[in-house]
């Protein structure tokens, strides 16, 4: 009998093993190359031989001095983290209203969300900077170089993104639950807080993760809007590669070592949130 559970399971196990091996190679070959470069003396990078004559573990200690790596990583975590948190909180409100109500301007709002995703960020840099300075002058406060400014800027791309994601998750939450809550005398806020929020939480975690990464990877805005004290790691890493009219030099080893090190906090955040992303959705009301 071809239709046997154990045969299929056995076959699936083989397929899975092959698949995992292929994926591992695909992921790990470049990563291992990076690790190898991180312990290769700079002079031996790309000189033909694959393995260095001696290990340059000192790259992992030197990298902390070449740039203020620890501070940069801290800044990135704060900025990308807060940008992600604000993005999902603000987006939740918008996504809720848009997914639950019909009103004039709704379509426009949705379409403009897509438009915002299509705008090249490069084009927004100068106008945005002008706006920030104008606001700065009105408030008579120093904004450029502050955490808050960079965080708000990252919302330019994190917010439309988070809105879209939450909208799609919102669509999976049955209206009946809220209606029941309203009938029971809950206020709108209580409905959102006690019925919608727990169900959308997994979606919010996903939206947070993606918003976080958008901020984490940005180089363009951060290079203009941060001061040395608030410099993010994506910008800081560039300092291992100097370029300019006076010629350039690359600290290959330190650059790779620092890149790997700076990735650790995000991997931890991811691993920590992973079970919420995966586990959470299953619990939701999607099962009728």
């Amino acid at each position: 009998m071809t239709h046997s559970l154990s045969t299929e399971n056995h076959r699936w196990k083989i397929v899975r093993t092959i698949g995992v091996v292929i994926f591992s190679l695909f992921i790990l070959v470049p990563v291992c190359y990076v690790i190898l470069i991180s312990v290769t003396p700079d002079a031996q990078v790309g000189n033909g031989s694959f393995f260095p004559t001696h290990w340059a573990l000192y790259n992992y200690s030197l990298m902390w001095q070449t740039i203020n790596l620890a501070r940069d990583i801290k800044n990135s975590v704060i900025i990308a983290g807060l940008a992600g948190v604000f993005a999902i909180i603000v987006a939740l409100g918008a996504a809720y209203v848009v997914s639950r109500f019909h009103f004039r301007g709704r379509k426009t709002f949705l379409l403009s969300l897509v438009t915002m995703q299509t705008i090249p960020q490069v084009m927004m840099l100068l106008p945005l900077f002008i706006i920030i300075v104008v606001v700065q002058n009105v408030l008579n406060a120093h904004l450029v170089g502050q955490y808050s400014t960079v965080i708000v800027t990252y919302l330019t791309f994190a917010l439309p993104f988070a809105c879209w994601l939450l909208l799609s998750y919102m669509a999976n939450i049955p209206l009946e639950l809220e209606e029941a809550g309203l009938v029971d005398g809950c206020t709108r806020w209580q409905v959102v807080r006690h019925i919608v929020f727990p169900l959308i939480l997994p979606g919010m975690v996903v939206a947070f993760v993606f918003s976080f990464l958008l901020g984490w990877s940005d180089v363009l805005f951060a290079s203009v809007l941060t001061s040395p004290a608030t410099r993010t790691v994506a910008v800081g890493l560039q300092s291992y590669v100097s370029s300019g009219e006076a010629g350039g030099a690359v600290y290959w080893g330190q650059l790779m070592a620092a890149s790997l090190t700076s990735g650790i906090p995000i991997v931890i955040i991811f691993l920590f949130l992973q079970k919420y992303i995966m586990g959470g959705l299953a619990k939701g009301a999607v099962k009728g």
Binding site: H3, R16, V20, F23, S24, F26, I27, V29, P30, Y33, G46, G48, I89, G93, A94, V97, V98, S99, R100, F101, V114, T115, Q117, T118, I119, P120, M124, L125, P127, L128, I130, I131, V135, L159, P160, W164, S168, A171, P174, L175, E179, V206, F210, L213, L220, V241, S243, W252, L255, S262, G263, I266, V267, F270, Q274, I277, L281, A282, K283, G288
Partner: protein
């Protein structure tokens, strides 16, 4: 009609029951009382098509989002529109409010001549569109396969899931530097491997010439497939195990189940993932900028890079803005139809 229904709800109240699903108590309105329930055949509760809540929308919840978007996206955007009509360059930037109005000149230049390197907006839009489509088309099956591989528990799944995230968490800057190193002519790992396998010559240029497009796609695919993987994995959690069980009892193989259950159920989340991915790749600036630097090969001269060179390297901000806006208009047409097709705006799946 809706208000009538709301009134009805009051009398329906006693009919609302609580059921327990997976340890969570969920209140459910009996199906026979649901108006216009979407054509769900698989037991998924779908918030019905055009149905909306009847009461007044709590607009205050939208205020922060609208306010922020107005300030940080809309206003700079309007400013860019203005910029596209003026001659804003190194001679006028220090006094840009008084820069001369040139009408549509920037738009004409964007089409006909392009930036200082002679790369027109249309050419760059084409590179960007093919780049984002190629990347998205490649990462979609890769991401789905990856999600299916680790969906069911097995020994070491945690480690594999963690490993799958590595490419995604490396900053784009690092990814670009890494691939620049891998694609270096002659001594890069890619050329070395190709030469050792006798697939290509040691002098296969990846960072310049036509292959730079594919170098960019490969680097981007490597870094971004976990996005689809994560979205699909999350989507898979929402598919009831019972569906597979009943399909199995009906004699469907895993293979059949994938096409008749998994894919249709993933459709909404995939639709969204594809849209977000396409837009995101379309706007990828850091990767080509770090990987190729300026000037890039014409085949890798994506629009953000072109706009960057035009605006920040040759100080032609008016032309840069005109190029961006033209692209926006060109991009809006397919985006609009795509959204209509997916009906993402509707609260339906």
């Amino acid at each position: 009609m809706a208000s009538k229904w709301a009134a009805e709800l009051g009398c329906l109240r006693p009919l609302v029951t609580s059921i327990e699903v997976g340890g969570v108590t969920v209140a459910v309105v009996p199906a026979r009382e649901r108006p216009e329930v979407g054509g769900s055949t698989i037991g998924l509760t779908q918030s019905g098509g055009r149905r909306r809540m009847a009461s007044r929308p709590p607009f205050w919840m939208m205020v922060p989002a609208v306010l922020l978007l107005l300030m940080i996206v809309v206003t700079p955007f309007l400013l860019s529109i203005y910029t596209s009509f003026i001659k804003l360059d190194q001679y006028t930037i220090a006094n840009w409010t008084r820069a001369p109005w040139v009408g549509l000149e920037n738009y004409v230049t964007a089409f006909s001549q392009g930036n200082a390197l002679g790369a027109s907006a249309l050419q760059s839009v084409w590179v960007s569109v093919t780049f984002s489509l190629a990347t998205t088309l490649i990462i979609t099956p890769v991401g789905i396969v990856a999600a299916l591989l680790v969906n069911k528990p097995f020994r070491g799944r945690g480690a594999v899931r963690a490993m799958f995230l590595i490419p995604y968490v490396l900053p784009v800057f690092v990814n670009a530097i890494m691939w620049r190193l891998l694609f270096m002519n002659g001594w890069g790992l890619v050329d070395q491997m190709l030469a050792n396998l006798h697939l290509a010559s040691l002098n296969t240029f990846w960072l310049i010439g036509p292959k730079s497009f594919w170098a960019m796609v490969i680097a981007d695919v490597w870094a971004s497939w976990p996005f689809i993987y994560l979205m699909v994995l999350a989507g898979l959690q929402g598919i009831s195990e019972e569906l597979y069980e009943s399909a199995w009892l009906d004699g469907a193989t895993h293979w059949r189940s994938f096409f008749s259950i998994t894919l249709p159920m993933l459709r909404p989340i995939l639709g969204l993932a594809l849209l977000l991915s396409t837009l995101n790749h379309f706007n990828n600036f850091t990767l080509p900028f770090v990987m190729f630097g300026t000037p890039p090969a014409p085949q890798a001269d994506v629009l953000p890079l072109n706009v960057y060179i035009t605006s920040f390297q040759t100080f032609n901000f008016g032309l840069g803005a005109a190029m961006s806006l033209l692209t926006l208009i060109i991009m809006m047409v397919p985006a609009f139809f795509y959204i209509r097709m997916l009906r993402l705006g509707e609260a339906t799946s």
